[in-house]
């Protein structure tokens, strides 16, 4: 028998490393260490800012978690965000800007001077959102079927959908933003349910900018998605099937798990989560933007998920890990911004953190091996 309980301190360390909450502890420790040097870090304004960055990313990363749980990868999430953003916006924009959009293929078909074809109609926003979801589902189906039925590698399939769907998004509006979205939609991205005022009580008229929103619509939506996803992945029959496929695909097949159906389903979930993220991002920007989710966004999503502890090799995934991973990632970006580092230096630190997370994972695997 290997001596696992060799020293108490070692045992304690492995407990800490292997805990579900490890990344949360790491985030808290990070804040505790940096707070004295960055007084703005714990300002209500900054916390509110961190939160507003946290929620949309959480939704998207939640979708990616399902994919990684089956040992797949979805590079097309960013493109889904872009295309659904444009589609949603072109349907509901209150007015259309001819100077910008008149050459776009959607002009005169879905959007004109008087706005998108659903603008102003009753339930128009709901219909538009339903259409965004439908588009996402179709893309997810395309990815899932290619991977599950045709045996194509997820990396290449979603790389291609990323290129094609991303190009479609840009083509639709000829890379222009579609602005003038209705207020009801914009509220989804920044509207608040509970705000906190930190000033003196006797003030009767509070200027808008010193009210800090904490319980916002994005928060409600993101938490709802994450909680639902948590139950779906960790508590339902479907979730067990997802993990079984990721743990050992051949075993899952022999055990009667509908492997293909599960793989198609996770790609659809991933795309739908991206579309929900797209609503939050577009609403916050008050525009449909075809370049949303481009660049290194996707690497942020995968990086945050992996840092949380979800394995790229499948079978090991929890939404709560993803939540902590996203929290850590957002905190990191935020603090680096507060330190007045350039965007690219932020990238460099991100790279180092991804690497550290991977090394940590190697270490964790070794520790688990020792413990059993």
């Amino acid at each position: 028998m290997p001596s696992a309980a060799s020293s108490p301190s070692r045992k304690w360390a492995s407990r800490l490393f292997l805990s579900d909450y490890f990344v949360l502890y790491l985030s808290l420790a990070y804040v505790a260490i940096l707070a004295p040097f960055l007084p703005t870090l714990l300002n209500p304004a900054n916390i509110s800012n961190v939160l507003s960055n946290l929620w949309p990313l959480l939704v998207v990363a939640t979708g990616q978690t399902f994919i990684l749980a089956t040992a797949g990868i979805d590079l097309s999430q960013g493109a889904v965000i872009a295309v659904t953003s444009v589609i949603g916006a072109m349907l509901i924009a209150v007015t259309g800007n001819a100077a910008v959009l008149s050459n776009a293929p959607i002009w005169g078909v879905f959007i004109g001077e008087q706005g998108g074809i659903l603008a102003g109609s009753i339930g128009g926003i709901a219909v538009a959102i339903a259409i965004m979801m439908l588009v996402a589902i179709l893309i997810g189906l395309l990815n899932g079927v290619s991977v599950a039925v045709f045996g194509m590698p997820a990396f290449m399939v979603t790389l291609v959908t990323m290129i094609v769907i991303g190009a479609v998004a840009i083509y639709l509006s000829l890379s222009e933003n579609i602005s003038n979205l209705p207020d009801a939609f914009v509220t989804l991205g920044k509207g608040d349910l509970v705000s906190v005022y930190f000033g003196a009580q006797d003030e009767s008229k509070i200027p808008r900018k010193i009210i800090y929103s904490f319980v916002t619509y994005p928060m409600v939506i993101a938490v709802a998605v994450a909680v639902a996803a948590h139950y779906l992945l960790n508590r339902t029959v479907f979730g067990r099937q997802v993990v079984a496929v990721g743990s050992n695909k051949r075993n899952a097949e022999v055990s009667g798990i509908p492997v293909r159906r599960v793989i198609v389903a996770v790609f659809v979930i991933s795309a739908v989560c991206a579309a929900i993220g797209s609503i939050l991002y577009s609403a916050r920007l008050e525009a449909g933007r075809p370049t949303l989710g481009a660049g290194t966004f996707l690497l942020d999503v995968i990086g945050a998920t992996v840092i949380g502890g979800t394995s790229l090799f499948g079978g090991k995934a929890k939404i709560i890990w993803t939540f902590f991973g996203v929290l850590f990632f957002v905190l990191l970006s935020n603090t680096l911004n507060l330190m007045n580092l350039s965007a690219f230096q932020v990238d460099m630190v991100k790279g180092a953190v991804i690497l550290a997370a991977a090394l940590l994972d190697v270490l964790r695997t070794r520790l688990t091996r020792e413990l059993t």
């Binding site: 028998m1 139950y231 508590r235 339902t236 029959v237 479907f238 979730g239 067990r240 099937q241 993990v243 079984a244 743990s247 050992n248 051949r250 075993n251 899952a252 097949e253 022999v254 055990s255 009667g256 798990i257 509908p258 079978g315 090991k316 688990t368 059993t372």
Partner: protein
Amino acid sequence: MGDLLAFEGLSKSWFGVPAVSDLTLAMRENSLLGVIGQNGAGKSTLMNMIGGIVEPTSGRMRWKGADYEPKSAADASEAGIAFIHQELNLFTNLTVAENLYIDGFPRKFGMIDWATINERTRHILGRLALDVEPSVNVGHLSPGERQLVEIARALHNEAELVIFDEPTTSLTPRETERLFETIATLRGEGRSIVYISHILSDVKKLSDDVAVLRDGKLVDQGPASDFSIARMIRSMIGRDLGGQFPERSNTPTTSAILSARSLSQPGVLQDVSIAVNRGEILGLFGLMGAGRSELARVIFGLDPHETGEIEIDGKPLAGGPRERIAAGLAFVTEDRRAEGLMLEAPIAENLALVSIDRFGKKPFMLVDRERVAEETEAMKDNLSIKAGNIARQPAKALSGGNQQKVVIGKWQMQSPKLFILDEPTRGVDVGAKYEIYTLIDRIAATGGGILMISSELEELLGMADRIVVMNRGEVVGEVGRDEFDRETILSMAFREVIA
């Protein structure tokens, strides 16, 4: 002197369980040593120690009189020892010549000297009477040709000792004949050979000396001329059959649960019909590569078949494993680690996997975790799986026997009508074997049907009510319990179908 390879008190144990213990044996130069033993007797561990893949726990090896301590496969090959494994170790995307020279190409101006390589390869292939071009991709060769390429690789490395591990399993009769000729050629060149096989008649025919391993120990050895097949079998099994198997309590009926009729699949199965009755343990015997596992995979819907039908309780089966599980089939595959378990996942999750649908609570199909915990815990007790906290402990932490019980348990959770057990006791120690036999008996006693596949004939003789023998994808015979006779069954299994 004159000993080529010698073992002195060689031992290897895994986590305290001995795989080879205190083995002392020597082989003469230019001789052919036949090594036999049941699965798990320690043959592969011994070979892995010679090949530098596994390090001995204690004892030592001597090669040509000097200490021999290989640290890697390269060390063994440098010393002049070559392996022909059952699973060939060739690169299918490379040519024959490249496969021979992959660990060291002759060069000219830094580039590979193709002319020399092709010429030398042609020469070596000529010695083996293998008529293929050196520039042909190995992927295009037949299994027999590939094996000769592997032998050619050993020749090119000027190996003095060539170790064959079950070399004939995927060969046609003609190819087998050719292999034996090649072995004779090798011996004519002064090389020594270790020949490991389950095919005892081959071992007797080819060997100068025979060594028998059982439970990691050398239990019998001597000149091949002193060995009869009967003595080989006796030494391999080594104990009376009585104590090995539990008292049988099932009563086979004549009403079929499973019936498969005229199953054919080109290259795999030819007109196979088989039926398993309620309360019956049907043994399926055959050599490796006889088509036993292939038949099981076809019945379970994992592999296709072109013609024939399969019925459960008179209802035709269709679809994949999922539909067949619903119809009452269960399949314990031969490769436990690759197809039977989620090694990293907790034992309880493994146990609940097949029957997970049953634990879903409507409307959201949330898993009823309390019931899962209850039922998996009950299954653990029922099968006496030796584990601590099954909700946390991963399956990989269990011993082979207990892992196998988990695999059987996950199917038991679904109360299937018919169990297909493919090599259910492979890599399982003697004690756990007995428990698994008891379990099998219990399933049959409660009216279940069992199709038990095994390469260990003794196991089937001890457990089966009826034995069906397969040979090269065909059913070649069937024997009832009162007519069980080792000779008859083995002769059916060994008889070569004229192709």
